[in-house]
């Protein structure tokens, strides 16, 4: 009984911490302006739509990843999955939740575009180091 109580509390806390953690990652990247190059590649200008996410993630996977970014990209991927689940279930009944999930999904796509920008710059740095070496 006690283990069940601990499990329920832990799962609820996990959900809350995870959502807040992902939103803190998104909030930190939302201030970054995308370069014209990344805007061209992704088609994202100032605001992104949730439908862009999958495409930007595919582009991300083409670039070599830097170890410190791996966790955040995976976390946002999981958060996007959670938002999709909410959108196809609860948001059908609660219209305000649909607006919220759509806005969050767009922010996830923007985060992915910022990560793409970083990976491109990381790849460039690596290439430059190889050329120098």
């Amino acid at each position: 009984m006690m283990a069940a109580g601990i499990f329920v509390f832990s799962a609820a806390a996990l959900l809350q911490f995870f959502i807040s953690y992902c939103r803190s990652l998104i909030a930190a990247s939302s201030k970054q302006v995308l370069s014209p190059e990344v805007k061209d590649v992704t088609g994202i200008q100032r605001f992104a739509s949730g439908d862009d996410f999958k495409r930007v993630m595919q582009l991300l996977q083409l670039c070599p990843e830097s170890p410190e970014d791996r966790n955040s990209v995976q976390a946002i991927g999981a958060y996007f999955g959670l938002l999709n689940l909410l959108r196809s279930t609860l948001a059908r009944v609660v219209p305000s939740m649909r607006v919220w999930t759509d806005s969050e999904r767009g922010l996830c796509a923007y985060f992915a575009a910022v990560a793409l920008e970083r990976r491109i710059s990381f790849s460039r740095d690596m290439l430059a180091q190889q050329m120098d070496g």
Partner: protein, 232 residues
């Protein structure tokens, strides 16, 4: 001999701990978040020692199981003090450091006494049972304390982005561990499957902290109310 899966478990986490320490050094955050980095360093040393033990005895050997749980209990105590240092950062303007330290120590002793009271009737392996019980209880106490810290951050409108991410990642880590331990108690038959989870969960914290040191400057600020699941 340990198989490829066991080696993968070890290789997964250790590089992230190194990366987290390097990020802290390079961004001059090592001394600022000293207890957090000491925990990561202790975890790195423990990972290397665990690797030695399971390389010699295997993952299912009692030597590895003993070493794992004893080192885990020590690391949990380290992490508990790391959490208390985060309390000090959040409450530094209130000059409540001494009070926080006293409460932390009292809570640690209380958890140890409670853990002993749970296992003291066991006739065999009393110390081992105590160590495992203490570790599990500290994960849960850590989760509750992190939850309270997060509530304080929201209430006090703490804006330091890096500090907020350090606290939230610790909350995710503690809740994952507490949920895993609770599941193991609920379904003892699944313990072999659930035994593989802690080393994987352990990777999350150094990755998240490395990211926070590397990507977020100390002066970065955000509005914490925007992060709350329930809007404030």
């Amino acid at each position: 001999m340990p198989g490829p899966f066991e080696y993968i478990l070890w290789f997964l986490c250790t590089p992230f701990e190194v990366v987290a320490l390097v990020c802290a050094f390079k961004r001059k955050a090592f001394r600022r978040y000293l207890f957090l980095n000491l925990y990561v360093a202790a975890s790195l040393v423990s990972s290397l020692a665990r690797f030695q033990v399971f390389h010699h005895y295997g993952l299912t050997s009692s030597a590895y199981v003993y070493f794992y749980y004893y080192s885990d209990a020590l690391l949990t105590i380290f992490l508990y003090f790391a959490l208390m240092s985060l309390y000090s950062y959040v409450f530094d303007e209130l000059k409540a450091e001494r009070l926080v330290s006293l409460m932390a120590f009292a809570l640690l002793v209380g958890t140890a006494i409670f853990s002993y009271s749970v296992v003291h009737q066991a006739s065999d392996k009393l110390v081992s049972r105590f160590v495992v019980e203490l570790s599990q209880n500290l994960y849960f106490v850590g989760l509750v304390l992190t939850y309270l810290l997060w509530a304080s951050i929201l209430k006090m409108r703490e804006t330091r982005t890096r500090l907020i991410q350090l606290v939230l990642s610790l909350g995710v880590y503690f809740s994952l561990f507490a949920a895993t331990y609770a599941l193991r108690n609920l379904y003892p038959g699944m313990s072999s499957l659930l035994q593989a989870l802690p080393p994987l969960i352990a990777c999350f914290l150094p990755m998240a902290w490395g990211y926070a040191y590397w990507r977020l400057p100390e002066e970065a600020r955000l509005v914490p109310a925007r992060l709350a699941v329930v809007p404030r």
